[in-house]
Amino acid sequence: MAELQLKSLEKTYGNGFKAVHGINLEVKEGEFMVLVGPSGCAKSTTLRMIAGLETVTGGEIRIGDQVVNDLVPGKRGIAMVFQNYALYPHMKVRRNLSFGLRLKRQPKDQIEQSTQVVSNILEIEELLDRLPKQLSGGQAQRVALGRALIKEPDVFLFDEPLSNLDAKLRASMRVRITDLHKRLRSEGRPATVVYVTHDQVEAMTMGDRICVMKDGHIMQVADPATLYERPANAFVAGFIGMPEMNLVPAVLSSNGAARLTLAGQTIMAGPDLTARLQTADGPVTLGIRPQHLEVLEDGAAEAFSGTISNLEFMGHEVNVHARVGDATFVAVVPTERFDTTLQRGDKVGLRPIAARLHLFDPETGENVSLADQNS
């Protein structure tokens, strides 16, 4: 096992398109790092560069203390799990698992033993003599996982391994992979993992740390809680969390205490926000998660007055969509606390919980309300 370092890593394609803009990332030994972002954010390209399947056009990749930029994939000490499993269709599961070891000319009994150990861990012993086309999606993905595991690599690379599975199976595979990672750690051979996904649920539940990417830039690298509580910018704030954080243009005016004005309505934001502020008065982007927006009676103190435009009943909670001027807020209310008399067109008060309010620079998108703690 080894740590992985990306230093000013760049990727420019032959046609001049720059996909990765000098990113720096350090994945510690035994860490589970998730690369997440919308499609086209170059997360897969980054992973493929680490794997050696794409050439590096700038910067360097280090695995352990070795620069691997110019090494072929097989010499980098990595193993990769692909989105569509990429099992060799003409080989039985047993040979799929052992292909890498056979190429290395390991002794036969050793290969046999490794195959047994790995198939035991992943519960695929009874599949060893099947062909890939005789496997279900979940089984195929476990075999693909086994093919990576058997090599005992320094770094595991996962390229959206669960996105071809149905929702139920995805959840169980998620647990299986994190369990496996913990198990290897407790057995004293921690696995360094880089896991690419576009699914924030996977990212939040699996990652020790998460690297949020956009357009070939890293937006923030942090553990899931920090990412959720203290997003570094509006992009991360909007990307992480379900439903999305409300991001609404507003005007900040501080006269001793911070006030926010939106559609002609002004509320006091409370001393907590005032203390955190890092910006001068003027236009800002107000950010508040739907879970942190209280739905009150119209006219409640320090609340925006809005009109309900839609109600979505989700079972355990209700999503309340309300318009304040031109802006639309979404608030999530637990079903048991939801006032069932509310209807579309009713007026309600929307009060952001001050401690959970974020303000972002409307130009740069940077979070300007993080001052009190070290970000």
Partner: protein, 304 residues
């Protein structure tokens, strides 16, 4: 028009007798398909009749052949096969079959190997001049064979390959058949690269990836290539006619013509008997590999 399958399924309304309209429609559909199959069968028979006649006539005597039009011999005899096999030359027909084999085997194997290598290069790697080279390959596909006959002949004459099998198979074994290269490329393009990337991550070199991963996946296409090459070479008449001058080296296609040339009165039953034999290898090979063959050409064609 209502097709048969769209009609109400009697299984669903058991007990209810079909209405007049249903019966009428069903009868109409049945007549329709009967008509279609009859037309198909008749046309099919017309097309295949010469072949059936060929097989039947090979068991006839020479005199019966032109006296009765039917394909069934009145006095079946294998004399045509026996005489035909002996030929009018010092060699038996078996010798000519072997000659054909000595051309076909290196040509087929060479084609499969060389086409795979070239196609793999074009389909999977970027190299300077790739587009121009690929355009050249496609251009040779469009070039009529006849155009290159004379320059090729002069070339092989200068190398000293005349009256040997070499001019017949060496160009193909060097991926000279652009059609096959193109076919394999199209097939390869339809195969996702992930398996090859997985193999590279597993530590395989480019050649190992090709041999252990790509070639097994290419099998249907390669079988089609071999099959085509086999049949076309077996049937090739012009190539051997140009390059091979001594009877000792004649392949089957020339040997068949031989029996027409040398005898004063044509022994048609011998010629037909040997024609049947000459057809057999192609047919046997085709039916053996039919499953892969169809998979090979259809996948290459549709997805490419």
């Amino acid at each position: 028009m209502v097709s048969y399958s769209e009609l109400p399924n009697p299984a669903h309304n058991t007990g209810d007798a079909p209405t007049q309209l249903e019966l009428k429609l069903r009868r109409k559909a049945r007549i329709n398909s009967a008509l279609r199959y009859t037309v198909l069968a008749v046309i099919g028979l017309i097309m295949v009749y010469p072949l059936i006649w060929l097989v039947g006539a090979s068991f006839k005597t020479n005199s019966e052949m032109f006296s009765s039009p039917g394909f069934w011999p009145s006095e079946p005899t294998v004399q045509g096969y026996i005489d035909g096999w002996k030929t009018s030359t010092p060699y038996t027909f078996g010798h000519f079959f072997l000659n054909s084999l000595w051309i076909i085997i290196p040509k087929t194997i060479g084609t499969a190997i060389s086409c795979t290598l070239v196609a793999y290069g074009f389909a999977r790697f970027d190299f300077p001049g790739k587009n121009i080279l690929f355009a050249t390959v496609i251009a040779t596909l469009l070039l009529p064979n006849v155009v290159t006959r004379i320059p090729q002949y002069l070339l092989f004459r200068d190398i000293g390959w005349l009256d040997s099998f070499l001019p017949l198979w060496v160009p193909s074994a060097m991926a000279g058949d652009a059609f096959f290269v193109f076919m394999v490329i199209q097939f390869l393009r339809a195969i996702p690269r992930d398996m090859e990337e997985a193999a590279r991550v597993d530590g395989a070199t480019t050649l190992q990836t090709l041999i252990f991963i790509v070639v097994p996946m290419l099998m249907p296409a390669l079988i089609s290539v071999c099959l085509f090459q086999f049949m076309w070479t077996m049937n090739d008449f012009l190539g051997p006619l140009i390059y091979i001058s001594s009877v000792e080296k004649y392949p089957v296609s020339l040997a068949l013509k031989l029996s027409i040339d040398t005898t004063e009165a044509f022994a048609w039953n011998q010629i037909l008997a040997m024609s049947v034999l000459a057809l057999t290898p192609s047919l046997v090979v085709f039916f053996m590999a039919q499953k892969y063959f169809i998979e090979g050409i259809s996948t290459g064609g549709v997805k490419g």
